[in-house]
Amino acid sequence: MNNSPNIEPDKEVPELKEGFFDLLPKGLIEFLNEAGEIARFAGKFFKQVLRPPYEFKEVLKQAFEIGYRSLSLVSITSFIIGLVLTLQSRPTLVEFGAEAWLPSMVGISIIRELGPVVIALICAGKIGSSIGAELGSMKVTEQIDAMEVSGTNPFKYIVVTRILSTTLTIPILIIIGDAVALYGSYLAVNIRGSVSFTLFFKQVFDSLEFSDVVPAFIKTFFFGFAIGLIGCYKGYNSKKGTEGVGRSANSAVVIGSLLVFIIDLIAVQITEFFGFL
């Protein structure tokens, strides 16, 4: 039968033939299967994102919701990280008589690594789980079906818009978080010593190079994409029942966080390889 494009054939678990695959542990096969499904889901996103109609309004609405709801959490955690990192680093630097380097050192660690990764992990927890749970409950209460019969492509309206908005919003949250963390660090420096606000930030920015900032910024888009993608994938494929919804939210966080680390690792390798130009 010739399916029209939007009627998806129901996914069936392929029956594995006796042979090579039986030798692999079951967990590994499940892992590969899942990775393949996620890649297919991402492929579907790229196919649909360029096709009109573009749901601009919905993207903006989601971006606002996602950003607004996470802003306070991101700010508080970043502030504490900046503060604690500075307090913890000080004694070591003092030992080497390098106390003056404190702003530079903290600045580099926050901008290059800690800010993006920690905030992305927080977003994976907060945003990934809420998208997973939201889409999961939309799925089990037939809201996704209802959209489809109302002349709407649900993948586009729900999934594409959310992935786009996390891809755009999470980098912004990370920039804000970095700034708040540096401010926390500035306060921590001033608990013991005394450095003016301008001097502190002058030191931070003088020590930062193009090769610190740009790769760190680029990878945040990938973090945002991965978090949105996994949240949507898990929610959209949620199993029936409330238990299924909980499980979607949970595994969205686990896989999302894991992906953040993997992307970070890859980003470091790429940056090193190019010596960053």
């Binding site: 054939p9 939309m138 037939e142 489809e148 002349g151 709407t152």
Partner: protein, 258 residues
């Protein structure tokens, strides 16, 4: 199939219009779970057919195939003469605008108010209407289901019966020619389900709809349907009016009429 209306020589001779839904030899399975097996059913304009069957026998699957939410493995489903599985998406959407689907779980959009829920199909089906037209339609439809007061509430603030009625209103807003009801009265008290049944009868009268109603509720089936179809083992096992089916002595059919 053990019984067909036509078997009955002195059956009621009501005239209906041309066929609007033609289901012929439909098969649908999920993996090894063969849900529909050679299912046949034709519904003419103006007919209101109630589909009965035990839980899990594939009633919801059947109507989801009709509206193209699920694909079927073999056979043919024609709505207004169009083969559902072969319609391009744009035409399928046009066709869907002529069909109202009331979901088993009401399927109200949690993140939207009642008003936005009702506006959604109006906006999305691309019928460009002015603000006041949209407003007027939403209010008229809410009045039809007696819930105009709820217009600014969120779905989480509604009771089960109210959700059913809003779900019904949302599927009515485009004035469909066909209504598909998935268990409209299940889980409601007798009074509320009586109200829903009255609404369904009003809809039949006001919009002149053809309908398929899935129900376990024989009272609802008797009042809203002029024909019954019973699904057993994935096929249309027996098909006829309430009176015809209620008198046959068959172990698969009889339990529904006890």
């Amino acid at each position: 199939m053990i019984f067909r209306s036509a078997d009955m020589k002195n059956g009621p001779a009501v005239e209906y219009g041309e066929p609007v839904i033609e289901i012929a030899g439909v098969y649908k399975s999920f993996g090894n779970n063969h849900v529909l097996k050679d299912f046949n059913l034709t519904i003419n304009r103006g007919e209101n057919v109630v589909v009965l069957g035990k839980s899990g026998c594939g009633k919801s699957v059947l109507i989801k195939c009709i509206i193209g939410l699920l694909s079927y493995d073999a056979g043919s489903i024609k709505v207004f003469g169009n083969e559902i599985s072969q319609l391009p998406i744009a035409e399928l959407d046009e066709l869907r605008a002529r069909i109202g689907f009331v979901f088993q779980s009401s399927a109200l959009y949690d993140s939207m108010t009642v008003r936005e829920n009702l506006e959604f199909p109006l906006r999305r089906h691309g019928k460009h209407k002015s603000k006041s037209e949209v407003q007027g339609l939403v209010e008229e439809t809410l009045k039809d289901v007696g819930l105009l007061d709820a217009i600014n509430l969120m779905p989480s603030e509604l009771s089960g019966g109210m959700r059913k009625r809003i779900g019904l209103a949302r599927s009515l807003i485009l004035h469909p020619e066909i209504m598909l009801y998935d268990e409209p009265t299940t889980g409601l008290d007798p009074i509320t389900s009586g109200e829903i049944i009255n609404l369904m009868l009003n809809v039949q009268k006001k919009y002149n709809t053809t309908s398929i109603t899935i129900s376990h509720d024989m009272h609802c089936a008797k009042i809203t349907g002029n024909r019954l179809a019973i699904i057993v083992n994935g096929t249309n096992y027996s098909d006829g009016t309430f009176e015809e089916l209620s008198i046959i002595d068959d172990p698969q059919t009889h339990p529904f009429f006890e």
